[in-house]
């Protein structure tokens, strides 16, 4: 499997393509192993695309054409990430969702604690006065 820096498999590729793959992976994010898989696959694809190119000039021209053919880099990264996420097994989805819920709960708790600590008590009802009023003897006239 190719390493994420791509030096092992992408030495024969033009610099613009290596940079293109690097940017896709950077935008894609997600797990390292998945990114390595995608990188290896894209590298293999580009290697095949360049197998008929003899000169560096030819390669560079083809590289520019391929980059255009691949379309919007950001959109491609989003699509790859989304598709790879769908591939993960159910248990991994459950684990991810559990951590997300825990994260949200911790965030809510932190916000509540900040609100609670930073707030100042505001007396709106004087219960002592009300109690005194209740037990105050009323003179019978």
């Amino acid at each position: 499997m190719a390493k994420e820096n791509g030096k092992s498999d992408s030495q024969n590729l033009p610099a613009s393509i290596v940079e293109f793959i690097r940017r896709i992976l950077k935008k894609m994010g997600y797990r390292r192993k998945v990114r390595q898989d995608v990188q290896a696959e894209l590298t293999a694809h580009f290697e095949d695309e360049f197998k008929d190119c003899k000169t560096d000039e030819e390669k560079e021209q083809k590289a520019q054409q391929l980059i255009t053919d691949f379309g919007d880099l950001k959109l491609l990264a989003i699509l790859l990430r989304r598709a790879k996420k769908r591939c993960r097994p159910l248990w991994r989805t459950v684990v991810a969702r559990t951590f997300q819920v825990i994260g949200v709960l911790i965030l809510c708790f932190i916000i509540y604690v900040i609100w609670f600590v930073s707030g100042k008590p505001l007396i709106t009802t004087n219960y002592v006065a009300e109690l005194n009023q209740m037990v105050r003897p009323v003179a019978d006239d």
Binding site: M1, D37, V38, A40, E41, L42, A44, H45, E47, D48, E49, L66, D69, F70, G71, D72, L75, L76, L79, L80, R82, A83, K84, R86, C87
Partner: protein
């Protein structure tokens, strides 16, 4: 010809499944095969191919595995699963019906054009 993306969106998975039903292929090989077998009419965008393959893999319609080819290069070969074959048969039947319906609407002009 440049097709409407929505039109191609529904057709692309069927085309990929059909090509893969003839034998396992890797991404580049698959894109070439689609072009060749459609007489260069269908050209799946390179940026569409891999997300499409991963989506089909997520639906368990195709299965990918790393293998070395003749030139001892590692490639990810995709093969159709039994679920994929079932889905392909279903979609082919739907396409046949759709084509028949469209032919009736267009007075057979679609098949002769």
């Amino acid at each position: 010809m440049k097709f409407e993306s929505q039109l191609l969106k529904g057709i692309a998975p069927v085309v990929v499944l059909e090509i893969l039903s003839r034998g396992p292929m890797y991404g580049y090989e698959l894109s070439q095969a689609i072009e060749q077998r459609s007489g260069d009419i269908l050209t799946l965008g390179k940026g569409t191919l891999y997300p499409l393959l991963y989506n089909l893999e997520a639906k368990k319609l195709v299965k990918g595995r790393w293998e070395k080819n003749q030139s001892s290069r590692k490639r990810r070969y995709y093969s159709i699963t039994s679920k994929g074959k079932g889905q392909l048969a279903k979609q082919k039947a739907q396409l046949r019906e759709l084509t028949a319906g469209l032919n009736l609407v267009f007075g057979g002009a679609l098949s002769t054009a």
